[in-house]
Amino acid sequence: MKGDGVADNNETPARKGFHPVDGMRDWWADAPAWQRYGVYLALIVLVLILPAPWIGSFMSPYSDWTTVLIFPVGTYILLAVGLNIVVGHAGMLDLGYVAFFAIGAYTWASIGTTYGWSFWPTVVIGIFLASVSGVILGAPTLRLRGDYLAIVTLGFGEIVRITANNTDGIGGARGITNVPHPEPLFGMEFFLDPAPYYYLMVFAIALVIVFSVRLTKSRVGRAWAAIREDEDAAELMGVPTFKFKLLAFAIGAMIGGFAGTIYASKAVFIEPNNFPFILSATILAAVVLGGSGNLPGVILGAFVIAWLPERFRQFNDYRVLIFGAVLVLMMALRPEGLLPSRQRKAELREGTGGMGAMGAEVAGPDSEASAEVTK
């Protein structure tokens, strides 16, 4: 997917003026290997020096910068990358994503406090339980599309939170206290010093990024894209749509669960109110704001969404107001997201309503076509 073809696409009549994002994308597509590795190296250096106090003094003067980088920044990025698979790639609107985050967190918190197992193998259990719950939610509901799916997932998010709130076995409304920290690994002590958690978080994000990129560039990713574009046509071209939608849901849930276990291991104390609907909405905002379907965009979006409220801590309650105003401004000025994927930008230009699954419910070129099959 490099070379002249990519440049050609760009020269469509709809393209007006100069777009730095597209310019960068084209440069990246044509860049020789040494330039790419140079960028990778620069990113690694950036990630390693990011917790430095001199950066923190500007980025987060009111709270500990490294802690902010773990939660909310790192956690939001992890969650956004996971939700991006469901929303950005497979085109299903999930409003209850926080449920999987909660399931991961509760898995470690209850297993760690009750049985005293080691953290590292328990992470796998957390990921597994989250993906199983993704399948349990997905299997009966993924026949729904668009708005209806959104409503069901919204309900699921609340069910998980309310169940946690009312189950005494996992602490009920009081939550779980004294959640153990992970055991030392590679000479890093996970205790009060946030630095090891930062590196753990960086490792988790890197892992999930590689996972996500590999999937989306494979048969699986193509099937998701086809489903997002036209579910009926995809099925008639031999894509088992239900299976792939379920897979997207389960993988999104896995990543959510992964984020949850790490979060719980750092937090020491978790309670049902750590997993409100607004967190699902915030992560969705990060995905959409960054550029649904485009990984660098989604990561940037999550960073901005997580960091802005921390930066404006001096304004106390007004910071939420400022945050809201910034969101409105960004959506008004760049509706396709900060770093949009090509598809999404094109969808908005056409007015198909954007988000794949929802696009089907909104009038546009697609709705006329779907009438054909149901005629």
Partner: protein, 257 residues
Amino acid sequence: MSALLEFDNVTMRFGGVTALREVNLTINEGEIFALIGPNGAGKTTVFNVVTGVYQPTEGEVRFDGDRIDGMKRFKVTKRGIARTFQNIRLFHNMSALENVMVGVDAHHKTGAIGATLGLPWHRKEEKHGRERARELLDFVGIGRVEHNVAKNLSYGDQRRLEIARALATDPKLLLLDEPAAGMNPAEKNSLQALIRKIRDDGRTVLLIEHDMGLVMHISDRLAVLDFGQKIAEGLPHEVQNNQKVIEAYLGVSEDAS
């Protein structure tokens, strides 16, 4: 010649509307069979019944000896039936190559684990998919636009891309729903050549088309539908002179009745 697709007394009702009434059809292996009839006669319904979009109310559909009515859509595709759409339904924001690769993927097996770990068979399948997709784009004559996003292609190229995507699933039977709609005479001529080439590749073609010139020229046999009923079937020149067909298209003259 053996029968590839058989419609045995197929009736398709939607509430009070009967879209197909006791239709019997036999399409033989290796032929180009055309389905014609006025608008609303039920031609696209036939396609939807064959590809599993609808389950017939009554009757049986057999493909290659096995019943396929009620089969899941993607299984019908894997079984060897692929189609194009009357209104183009490409994956508009994917490149031409990716569109075709989705079709090739129908016979691939790699799942999430193979793709994540980059296992050898996954790489082999990716390579096969890309090569096969390129071959098919060249076959239909649009190899030069493989990196273009589908919706940026010209109308004729989009129609060809739909055919390439359908061929990618390696069908025994290819259903073309009005492939010549909106094409100019030159494009129609090369489409005709393409359909012949597909048949010569050993595939059977079932075609819905309104362009009589093209239909008469290209099809081995054809059937005429009117109000959901088959009113004629046979060789092109036989059907052309069939009184019922003339009436269906032109109406009954006052003198005759």
